[in-house]
Amino acid sequence: MNKVLPVIALVLCLAFCPRTHAEFVVEVTRGQENAIPIAVVPFMAADAPDASLDAAAVVRNDLSRSARFKTMDRKDMIEQPHAGAGISFDDWRRLGNDYILVGAMTPQGPDRYVIDFELYNVLNHQRLLGYQISANRAGLRLAGHQVADMVYDKILGVRGAFATRIAYVSVQGALPNKSYRLIVADADGENPHVVMQSNEPLMSPAWSPDGQSLAYVSFESRQPSVYVQLLKTGERKRVSAKAGVNQAPAWSPDGKKLALTLSTRDGNLDVYVLDLDGNTLTRITDDPGIDTEPQWSKDGLSLYFTSDRAGGPQIYRVGLKPGEHPKRLTFQGNYNARPRLSPDDSHLAFVTQEDGAYRIAVMDLNGRGDMQVLTKGQFDVSPSYAPNGAMIIYASRDRGRGVLALVSSDGRVQERLVSSEGEVQEPAWSPF
């Protein structure tokens, strides 16, 4: 019985506490000029009773949030067809649309809905997609994200990342009684779930390549330790709790190793690789400066990391074969730190200092080392690429509060995720 009560408390918490309401409102602060006009027609009858069943609204919000699309306002629609046969293409074209998505959602059984949807090119009447997708009520948002992914892929030729997730740290309360929550939400900020809660700092969430686990740093014992937690069961394992620093976990592409930062007794931080199977530790860097914030190359053969061995922090790459020496990659400016690789390994996103402000910059790894500063904030840190490489999510500050923001990897689209409460920081975008 003793054992049952806490379990019930946890399940109650699961059911009520973490999923209070949507945590974010998206504001597009700078959009794209040549956004593609598309009409996403509601899948249900106009007088449908329940907004939580409105999967078409999820699709529309995803597409419009990507800023690659300009979605038609529903109140401007003169009719609402549910299948290709009902589309008056000339009317939709005159209203300025290049594409139209129609669908019909029908209930099948007590908690099952089937959506038949079609995507058409309005100009040549060509049918581009025609699929059926089914979901229970709780799964309808995910179904909407999947439809949006298919539309995005079909029209732009790039895999959509709407049906992915983000992890972030939320900080609530006033000093000295702050509480820290590690949260996983859908990529649009909806459906937030608390993964871990503590009265001591939580840091550095990192997704395993299979999207099943998070590695993170917790100070719950007033010392930093690295944990790996399986999201489905909550089962977690302390994988590093050495004396001193245990920080900045990063998964190897095969999910079998973690790169992380440890310190010697004299406080010298270096990058190590921990083999999660055998629990063996390999030292990668050996320098009296601060070496930290490691990140794997896609082939798993080298690490990118921050080091202040040359004075201020700069970004380096080191091969993992014995005897390889780190090579410095950033030379512009006196502060470049926390590298994150684009999913195709072609670009590096990182934090740079510019006019006393900290901003997100990218560098083409195949170019001449020139960097492009993407953001304009004062405290922009913690960049993380979407798994399709189209957007970068990062932590910013707005009127003294920690917020999350998005910028397209070319810098042309900027969005802010306005959180309803507390401070949010350290976003990490999940893999596909």
Binding site: F219, R222, L269, P313, A337, G400
Partner: protein, 181 residues
Amino acid sequence: MKKILSIACLCAVAALMAGCPKKTTTVEPPSAGSQVPGAGSTNANGQGAYASGSALGGDEGGAAGQGGPGGAVAKVIYFDFDKSDIKPEFAPIVQAHAQYLIAHPGAKLKLEGNTDERGTREYNIGLGERRAQAVRRALMLLGVSENQLTTVSFGAERPAVEGDDESAWAKNRRVQLVYTP
């Protein structure tokens, strides 16, 4: 005599306060490896497992911590931006703690390094550690045994005060000296 008594009283009160664990509303942390049955099956995305941890009592290290030299001796050392050298005005504080630690070989001191909020979080952990190590080295140079000293860096994660300006940052770039049982 009267003065000594009242100081003794203050010390006792301070010790009591420091010894009282704060009430927390967090649920008990599950033991490592525990599972929440059914939690994973309640939603389609495979999310929702929930773990929790809580502080082991204790308080902000600034004025608290048990033991240490008398109440007049500060337990915080402040640093300049991006610096980890101990400024001359803090030397007497380091000396006072060194004397106490040498006179009380059983006393243990934890040095908590902190930074202001600027910069990346993990690099700031490195800077905080560097500051904690600077105080550790200074104490050891004054004859304190290595075994009495531990360090931890909170980087920018545990600011002393909130605020996005220099007056707040100056108060956050610090090492807190926390005597541990």
